[in-house]
């Protein structure tokens, strides 16, 4: 099993962000940490003996919390769950929110992987995104993390930004790769409804400002080629890593591993059941923890569909043998003719008992995945 811990706070909300995150004062942050620990103690009851292979602290910006609170949280987690010695323990951090002391405490808490939200190496682009940091501040944070002994670092980058060109994107990639992180996530910007970016660029308002489809695809394809040259393999639609340094926590999402979400709005997938925590901070703080919202018990059919539409995000694709073992049916019988058709369309390849998307199939993966929904 995996654990996800949500910290819904940040210094300032970015213009493109639709995550459950907002700035809050220290008093609320403290009350949140206490409630979160109460939740950890309550919901861990049924999982004391379940080994936990990874923990991911996400947000928001978890690094806005006082470092010793983070340590408290981890003490609580370790007291409540059986976290394996070798577990991957990741935390998201924003450049400019960490210092030497904080990083030392994170190490002490057992965190062994940091994920920096850099997004761009271009200060103008950072400003347009509403980020609070500069490229230089990121460099400092990255250097401090290495000094503190973090040997597994991820950098998040975003392509298809307003005003971004293929050149400025390649520059961001190059500068990032030069720092030699173990993992790079390179997403293309999604204009989400309800964000200031949607107001500015949604519904065609961004035409001429946002890179067009062709430029966007070029960025994606050149990213793959460039990072491959630098020794990073693409293993998921938007994720690249040094061999063996893939994010195990995320791999779990795409291969059907159970995960328990802790904290405001966190999602869980446990025992074939998906559910979600309370999303309203006031209610979350005021209620007994452990309430499950939007509970959805997956049927066999749901799981078969998920097997494909989630699993196909991985470059290695899905194992048809595993499908048969898990569901007692051959995928070819559940989806007659479909895989052959997708192969003929150049979107996928079937070889060595694995079905996987081609580069082109990745580009149009929504189309391919929708085909597996019945």
């Amino acid at each position: 099993m995996e654990l996800y811990v949500h910290i819904p706070f940040c210094v300032k909300k970015c213009a493109y962000c639709d995550f459950l995150s907002f700035p809050q004062g220290e008093e609320i942050q403290r009350r949140y940490v206490e409630k979160l620990m109460e939740e950890i103690r309550t919901v861990s009851a049924g999982f004391h003996d379940t080994p936990v292979s990874s923990v991911f602290v996400g947000g928001g910006t978890p690094s806005v919390l006082k470092a010793r609170w983070m340590k408290e949280l981890f003490d609580c987690l370790r007291a409540s769950f059986h976290i394996e010695e070798t577990a991957e323990i990741s935390m998201e951090a924003n450049p400019g929110t960490v210092d030497r002391e904080k990083l030392r405490i994170y190490r002490e808490a057992g965190i062994n992987r940091l994920s920096f939200g850099l997004q761009s190496a271009d200060n103008r682009e950072l400003k347009a995104l509403g980020r609070i940091h500069t490229w230089e501040e990121f460099l400092e944070s990255f250097r401090l993390a290495r000094e503190a002994g973090f040997s597994n670092l991820n950098v998040d980058l975003m392509s298809a930004l307003p005003g971004q060109t293929v050149e400025s994107w390649m520059d961001t990639l190059k500068k990032t790769a030069d720092l030699d992180p173990e993992h790079i996530s390179a997403y293309s910007l999604i204009i989400e409804e309800g964000t200031p970016f949607f107001e500015a660029y949604g519904n065609g308002r961004g035409d001429g400002i946002l890179p067009d489809e062709d430029a966007e695809r070029e960025m994606y394809h050149r990213t793959r080629e460039f990072l491959k040259d630098r020794g990073y393999e693409r293993y998921e639609i938007s994720n690249y890593a040094r061999p063996g340094m893939e994010c195990r926590h995320n791999l779990g999402y795409w291969t059907g591993v159970s995960y328990l979400g802790l904290g405001l709005g966190a999602s869980s997938y446990v025992n074939g059941c998906r559910f979600c925590n309370e999303r309203d901070l006031g209610i979350y703080l005021g209620e007994k923890p452990g309430k499950r919202l939007d509970q959805e018990i997956l049927t066999k059919k749901d799981m078969e569909e998920e097997f494909f539409y989630v699993g196909l995000r991985l470059v290695q694709g899905v194992s048809l043998k595993e499908f048969e073992e898990r569901f007692g049916e051959r995928a070819q019988d559940v989806y007659p003719g479909l895989m052959e058709r997708l192969e003929k369309e150049g979107a996928a390849v079937l070889s060595d008992g694995r079905f996987r998307l081609t580069d082109y199939g990745m580009d149009v993966s929504n189309y391919v995945m929708a085909e597996f929904l019945q």
């Binding site: 996800y4 996400g58 997403y187 293309s188 910007l189 999604i190 489809e213 062709d214 966007e216 695809r217 639609i237 938007s238 995320n250 999402y253 995960y259 979400g261 709005g265 966190a266 999602s267 997938y269 998906r274 979600c276 939007d294 959805e296 569909e305 998920e306 539409y309 989630v310 995000r313 369309e345 979107a347 990745m362 580009d363 149009v364 993966s365 929504n366 189309y367 995945m369 929708a370 929904l373």
Partner: protein, 604 residues
């Protein structure tokens, strides 16, 4: 009810251009003759279909009988027969007129005479009706009743200086109209003892009583038990009930005799047995000849109607059958399309009739429909001497078998203010119109006469007319006949496959332009696929226009983490759902909307 003195009966109708106040005046007459309290009045009693009320037009003619106590102290029976006001229903109008002895012509005091006013007056005069004018809406600020009275005298030649000047809306001077009905409309004639001769002018289907036949007794008498026969269809029945029309209800009576207007029921199961215009006679004492003027109504416009959801085919059939119970002019037969599956080829009196049926199917029967391009009936003379009427473009024979083709042509009258004459003439030219002449109705208004192919006016002629005259043009037409024409079948190929539902017949000279526009429109409607999709227009296998729908280069959710999986699934399901509503042609998904959007090629 005892036998009624013919001299106390007035059978009449109201004729008017659309929106000149026909229905409002009818309401006032019913109200002021005192059979109804104001509370019972619906806003417009004669139009009782929702759709009619919304469109402000009357679709099916109906009748109402009221009693008026005139200033001379006598009571008169008024039979007000309502007539549909649209050219699609011209034949039905003519049968309603034939049931009357006189007509009230309503003219708007601000707008004056319009194309439909003229067409209806001529139709009424053709039926030897006594017509007297009424000038309505005199309370409008822009009203000019003197000018309109003059216009009526000059253009139509009707005495108008003493025409009642009224506001049907407020009821002002409407009693003058009631008196004029008594004075100016002649009492009916006919011998109650003669062999029965009754004119059918409408019928409705009632699930308890069967068809209720609306008729005017010209000669003789009919009552319960009379063995009747419809002279054109040959159908025979025994009368179950006769009666007259109260406001909104059927009131049974002993008998209907010459001069009266009323209804007959006879357990008639099928409205097709009671054709409008047919003559009812007494089998035991038949009249020598039927009344003149009957013709079998034939559809002028055909299109394919398909259920958007193929599984609803039986429901569509049931709905069409139900509508046909009340509408003998609606024709349908099953057809299949490669692109659209199972549906019906339906025939209509005109485009309005088509739209009304389509809306009723969607609204009253909750059906989602896909409609193919409407087509007129082409006449094909084959080299082997055979002549066929073509109602579905897909059935067009190979050009090598065709000697020549004919298309229906109408004579059209457009009334327009002089400043727009140029624009309207240009429109008519573009639509292959043949100029017949122009008359000035007054210094600022002209009546243009054109001969136009019907297929040029069934799409969007009304809209074009309105926009090019800023709403000032009015239009009326009647079928003239068939004329030889250079026609070709235009096919649309999507990804190199012919889509039968998109084929249509077009004038050869317009084929290129139409083909180009079709391709452009379809390019916007067809979603991008993983592969490039050529859209081509072809005539006889030769490509005349082409557009391309570019292949999808990107359709990917870049970021997906644990909490996203459910949300993402919903997104994909929505995408998939959208595809389900599309039609598959070859390996291309075509949205339903695409089939209809091509009907509106001239929209800017």
């Amino acid at each position: 009810m005892t036998a009624v003195d013919q001299s106390r009966i007035r059978n009449f109708c109201i004729i008017a251009h659309i929106d000149h106040g026909k229905s409002t005046l009818a309401d006032r007459i019913i109200e002021m003759t005192g059979l109804l309290t104001s509370r019972e009045m619906q806003a417009q009693i004669l139009d009782n279909m929702d759709l009619e009320r919304e469109r402000g037009i009357t679709i099916k003619s109906q009748a109402v009988r009221t009693v008026y106590k005139a200033k001379n102290g006598e009571e008169y029976i008024f039979n007000l027969i309502d007539t549909p006001g649209h050219v699609d229903f011209n034949y039905e109008v003519s049968r309603s007129l034939a049931a009357c002895d006189g007509a009230i012509l309503v003219v708007d005091a601000a707008q004056g005479i319009e194309a439909q006013t003229l067409a209806n007056v001529y139709l009424a005069l053709d039926h030897d009706l006594d017509v007297f004018p009424v000038i309505n809406k005199i309370d409008l600020p822009s009203a000019d009743p003197d000018r309109v009275a003059e216009e009526i005298e000059d253009v139509i030649g009707l005495e108008a200086h003493d025409a009642p000047r009224i506001s049907a809306k407020s009821g002002l001077n409407v009693e003058d109209v009631l008196e004029a009905i008594v004075e100016k409309i002649p009492a009916p004639e006919g011998d109650p003892e003669a062999p029965l001769q009754a004119l059918i002018f409408d019928s409705v289907y009632d699930s308890y009583r069967g068809v209720i036949v609306f008729c005017r007794i010209k000669e003789g008498t009919v009552k319960r038990g009379t063995p009747i026969k419809m002279m054109a269809t040959g159908a025979s029945y025994d009368v179950v009930e006769v009666g007259y029309f109260g406001a909104g209800q059927f009131i049974p009576c002993e008998e209907l005799s010459a001069g009266m207007v009323g209804y007959i029921t006879a357990s008639i199961k099928n409205v097709r047995d009671t054709r409008v215009g047919d003559t009812i006679t007494d089998r035991s004492n038949p009249c020598k000849e039927p009344l003149p003027g009957y013709k079998k109504v034939t559809p002028m416009v055909y299109c394919g109607l398909y259920p958007a959801d193929g599984a609803k085919y039986p429901e569509l059939r049931d709905a069409l059958e139900k509508l046909q119970l009340n509408d003998a002019s609606l024709f349908f037969e099953p057809e299949t399309s490669v692109a659209l599956g199972f549906g019906f080829r339906c025939g209509f009196l005109g485009l309005l009739h088509l739209e009304i049926i389509q809306e009723r199917l969607e609204r009253e029967y909750n059906l989602d429909l896909v409609t193919t391009a409407p087509s007129v009936v082409y006449r094909i003379h084959k080299t082997n001497g055979e002549v066929i009427d073509l109602t579905n473009p897909t059935n067009m024979p190979d050009p090598s078998e065709i000697e020549y083709m004919e298309e229906p042509v109408v004579t059209a009258e457009v009334m327009v203010t002089t400043e727009f004459v140029g624009a309207i003439m240009q429109l008519c030219q573009e639509r292959r119109g043949v100029y017949l002449g122009m008359e000035y109705i007054e210094a600022t208004r002209a009546l243009l006469k054109y001969e136009l192919p019907l297929n040029e006016i069934i799409y969007d002629f009304f809209d074009a007319l309105k926009s090019r005259s800023r709403g000032y043009a009015s239009f009326d037409y009647e079928l003239k006949g068939y004329e030889q024409s250079e026609l070709v079948k235009l096919d649309i190929l999507i990804n190199r496959e012919e889509v039968d539902a998109l084929s249509f017949i077009v004038f050869e000279g317009s084929a290129y332009e139409r083909g180009r526009k079709m391709c452009e429109k379809l390019k916007d409607e067809i979603p991008r696929h993983l592969f490039e999709i050529p859209i081509q227009a072809a005539v006889g296998g030769k490509i005349i226009a082409r557009e391309t729908v570019k292949a999808v280069r990107k359709d990917v959710l870049a970021k997906c983490y644990g909490g996203d999986i459910s949300r993402k699934k919903k997104l994909l399901e929505k995408q998939k759902e959208g595809k389900k509503r599309m039609r598959q042609v070859g390996n291309v998904e075509i949205p339903q909307k695409a089939f209809m959007s091509v009907l509106k090629l001239d929209e800017e």
